[in-house]
C-alpha cells in the first residue's frame, strides 16, 4: 500500500548522491561501532595493567599477565575475599530465583494458554500490565512489606520478589498458545491422561525451548538487578556482586579520595571487578543472541 506513494522517479541524480550519501552513512555507522566497542575493549585491556601503566601508557596497549595476576590477587584479597562471597551470593540469588520462576511460570503460562478457568482473563491482564512496569517501581513498597514480615537481610527478601517474573509467564503463554494445538491435549485426555499427566507428559516435553528462554531471561535479570538487593540487604556479607561493586568503588581513591588506606582499590582492579561482575551474563549473551531476540520480539511476531 505504501508503494503507491512512490510515484515520483528520482532519475539519475540518485546515482551520485547515493554514492556520497552511502559514504556518509558508512562513516556514521563506523563511529557508532567505535562508540560501542571501545569501552569494552579498553575495559578488558585495563585488567592487564598496573595502575601506573593505565594512566601513563597508550590506552590500547595490552599490559602483562603478571599485572593481571596482581590485580586478580588484590581484587580477591579485598576485605578477606569479599568478592568471592559476592559472586557466590549473586549465583545463589539468581539461581534460586530461576528455579522458583520456572516452577511458578511454566505451569501458569500453560494453564493460561490452554485451559479455561474463572480468573484467567484477570490474571492475564494483570500479567501484561505488571510486565510493562519497570521492576524498580515496586521495590520500595516491597521493602516495606518485607519489613513487616521481618525478612529484611535474608536471601529470601531478594529471591522471592525476583521469582515473580510476569515476562516469563507471558513468554510461556505465547509459546503454548501458538505452538501447541489444543487437539493434542484433547487426544491425550481421551487416552486416559489426567490433567497433571497432560501437562507433564505432553506439554512439558514440547516446552523445552521456552523453558530455556525463560531461564535465560530470569537469570540475566536477577544477576543484573541492583536496586532490589541494594534496598533489601543492609549488610555487606549479603551483597550480590552488582551491589558489591559500590563498596569497591567507595574504596577506590581515584574516585573517592577519602578512601586511601590499606584496603584501597586501584583502578585496574576495579576494572577487573567490573569484568567479573558481568562475565556470566556476557558469556550467555554471546551464545544466545538469537534467543534473546526471539524473546524480545515474541509479542510482535503474529504474522
Amino acid at each position: 500500500m505504501t508503494t503507491m506513494n512512490i510515484g515520483r522517479p528520482v532519475g539519475r541524480r540518485s546515482g551520485v548522491s547515493g554514492w556520497s550519501g552511502r559514504t556518509i552513512v558508512a562513516v556514521v555507522v563506523l563511529l557508532f561501532v567505535f562508540f560501542f566497542v571501545i569501552p569494552i575493549v579498553w575495559l578488558l585491556l585495563a585488567t592487564t595493567k598496573s595502575a601506573h601503566m593505565l594512566i601513563v601508557e597508550n590506552p590500547f596497549r595490552p599490559g602483562s599477565l603478571g599485572d593481571l595476576a596482581a590485580n586478580w590477587n588484590q581484587l580477591f584479597g579485598f576485605q578477606d575475599g569479599a568478592v568471592t562471597a559476592w559472586v557466590g551470593n549473586s549465583a545463589l540469588y539468581a539461581l534460586g530465583a530461576l528455579v522458583i520462576t520456572l516452577i511458578a511460570s511454566i505451569p501458569a503460562g500453560y494453564a493460561m494458554a490452554l485451559t479455561e478457568f474463572r480468573f484467567r482473563r484477570l490474571l492475564l491482564v494483570l500479567t501484561l500490565i505488571v510486565m510493562l512496569i519497570p521492576n524498580t517501581a515496586l521495590v520500595l513498597p516491597i521493602f516495606l512489606e518485607m519489613n513487616v514480615v521481618g525478612l529484611i537481610g535474608s536471601p529470601l527478601s531478594v529471591i522471592l520478589p525476583m521469582s515473580f517474573f510476569p515476562f516469563g509467564v507471558y513468554l510461556t503463554y505465547i509459546y503454548f498458545s501458538t505452538s501447541v494445538p489444543r487437539d493434542l491435549l484433547a487426544a491425550a485426555r481421551l487416552d486416559g491422561c489426567t490433567e497433571f499427566q497432560v501437562f507433564t507428559r505432553v506439554a512439558l516435553p514440547l516446552a523445552a525451548p521456552i523453558v530455556a528462554l525463560v531461564a535465560f531471561f530470569s537469570f540475566v535479570q536477577s544477576w543484573n538487578n541492583f536496586f532490589l538487593p541494594f534496598v533489601m540487604l543492609p549488610s555487606s556479607d549479603g551483597y550480590p556482586v552488582q551491589v558489591g561493586l559500590t563498596s569497591l568503588l567507595a574504596s577506590t581513591p581515584a574516585f573517592n579520595p577519602s578512601s586511601a588506606g590499606a584496603q584501597s582499590v586501584q583502578l585496574p582492579t576495579l576494572a577487573l571487578a567490573t569484568v567479573i561482575s558481568v562475565l556470566p551474563v556476557l558469556i550467555v549473551f554471546l551464545f544466545a543472541q538469537r534467543f534473546l531476540v526471539a524473546g524480545m520480539t515474541a509479542g510482535g511476531t503474529k504474522e
Binding site: 508503494t3 522517479p9 528520482v10 540518485s14 552513512v25 556514521v28 555507522v29 560501542f36 571501545i38 569501552p39 569494552i40 579498553w42 575495559l43 585495563a46 593505565l54 594512566i55 590506552p59 511458578a104 505451569p107 501458569a108 494453564a111 485451559t115 478457568f117 474463572r118 491482564v125 500479567t127 510486565m131 519497570p134 524498580t136 517501581a137 515496586l138 513498597p141 521493602f143 516495606l144 512489606e145 522471592l160 520478589p161 521469582s163 515473580f164 485426555r189 486416559g192 489426567t194 543484573n224 541492583f226 536496586f227 552488582q242 561493586l245 577506590t252 574516585f255 573517592n256 583502578l267 576495579l270 561482575s277 558481568v278 543472541q289 534473546l292 531476540v293 524480545m296 509479542g299 503474529k302
Partner: protein
C-alpha cells in the same frame, strides 16, 4: 476417567465460556493448581505492594488518614522539582537519541548486503547490553575520567581535564543518556532489524522500480512500518527512564557527593525512606512513579495490539 467426570459434573464454574463450553471439575481445579504458585507471587509482590504503597501514601506515621498531605509534602520539598527536572531532561535527550539513532542504525545495518558484516555489526551494537546496571556505570566512570580514559584526548579537546569537570550538574543528563543509550540501544537495533526483515522484498523492489532511492525507501516505507516498534521502544524506555536510580547513585558515591544523592526521583524516595525514616513520604513518591508507569503500560496494553494472541 477424566472424561466421565467431565460429563458427570457438568460445571464447577457458573460463568459462561466465550466458546460456550464448560469446564470439567478436575480440569479447572488443576488449572488453579497450575497457576497457584504464580498467583501467590503475583499477589505478594505485585498487588500487595501496590496496595500497601497506596495505604502508606494516604496515611501519616501513626496510621491515621492523612488525605493528600504526603503528596503536598513531597511535591513541596525543595528537592522535588529539581529531581523532576533532572529526570525529564535526561528522558528527553535519551528518548530522542534512541528513536533517531536506533532507527537510523537499524536501517543502515539492514542495508548492509555482506552477511558476516551485518551479523558482526549487530553483535557489536548489542553486546554492551550485557553490562547492565552498576557494571556499565562503572565502565563509564572510567571512560569519563580524563586521567584514565581511552578517549582522554577527546575529553581534553572538549575542555575537560578532570573527572569533576566532566560531571558538573549541567552535563549529567547527557552523560546518563549516553550510558543508557550505550547499554540499551543494541537490543532495540536488533529488534528493529528483525522487523525490517519482515517487510516483504516485493514492496521494496516495486518501490525501486518506481525510481525510489535508498533514502526514499527508508523514509517512506521502512520508517512507517517500524512505527509500531518505535512506539513500543519509546513507551518502555520512558517508563524505565523515570526510575533512574543506579547511575546517579553511583556517580554521587564516586564524586564525593558532587552529584547529590537526591538527584533523581527514585533517589529522593530512597532518601525519604532510609535517611528520614518517612515511609509515607517515600510511598507517596513511589506511587507517583508507579502511576506514571501503570498509565504508560495500560495505554500500551489497551491500544498497542502488540500483545493480542490472534
Amino acid at each position: 476417567m477424566t472424561v466421565t467426570q467431565e460429563t458427570a459434573r457438568p460445571t464447577a464454574n457458573p460463568r459462561r465460556r466465550p466458546d460456550g463450553r464448560s469446564d470439567g471439575g478436575e480440569r479447572s481445579t488443576m488449572s488453579y493448581a497450575f497457576v497457584s504458585v504464580y498467583t501467590v507471587l503475583a499477589v505478594a509482590f505485585g498487588v500487595l505492594p501496590a496496595i500497601y504503597a497506596l495505604y502508606l501514601a494516604f496515611t501519616d506515621g501513626d496510621g491515621g488518614f492523612a488525605g493528600i498531605a504526603n503528596f503536598t509534602k513531597v511535591v513541596g520539598d525543595f528537592r522535588f522539582l529539581p529531581a523532576v527536572e533532572h529526570v525529564a531532561l535526561y528522558l528527553v535527550i535519551w528518548l530522542v537519541a534512541l528513536v533517531v539513532l536506533v532507527s537510523f542504525l537499524a536501517i543502515a545495518v539492514h542495508a548492509v548486503r555482506v552477511r558476516w558484516m551485518s551479523r558482526t555489526l549487530r553483535l557489536v551494537f548489542y553486546l554492551p547490553g550485557a553490562l547492565a546496571g552498576a557494571s556499565s556505570v562503572l565502565l563509564w566512570l572510567f571512560v569519563l575520567d580524563p586521567t584514565a580514559s581511552p578517549v582522554s584526548g577527546l575529553l581534553h579537546l572538549m575542555g575537560f581535564s578532570s573527572f569533576v569537570q566532566v560531571i558538573v550538574p549541567a552535563n549529567l543528563p547527557p552523560v546518563f543518556a549516553i550510558i543508557a543509550f550505550w547499554t540499551g540501544a543494541g537490543g532495540w537495533i536488533v529488534i528493529m532489524y528483525g522487523a525490517l526483515n519482515n517487510i516483504s522484498s516485493d514492496v521494496i523492489e516495486a518501490a525501486r522500480i518506481d525510481g525510489a532511492g535508498t533514502v526514499q525507501i527508508a523514509w517512506r516505507i521502512q520508517l512507517p512500518l517500524l512505527r509500531k516498534w518505535i512506539s513500543y521502544m519509546g513507551i518502555m524506555s520512558l517508563a524505565a527512564g523515570t526510575q533512574l536510580f543506579v547511575e546517579p547513585q553511583l556517580l554521587s558515591q564516586a564524586s564525593n557527593a558532587v552529584v547529590p544523592n537526591d538527584y533523581s526521583l527514585n533517589q529522593l524516595a530512597y532518601q525519604y525512606a532510609f535517611q528520614q525514616n518517612d515511609f509515607n513520604g517515600a510511598a507517596a513518591i513511589s506511587l507517583l512513579l508507579l502511576v506514571i508507569a501503570l498509565a504508560l503500560s495500560a495505554v500500551f496494553v489497551m491500544r498497542g495490539g502488540l500483545f493480542e494472541r490472534d
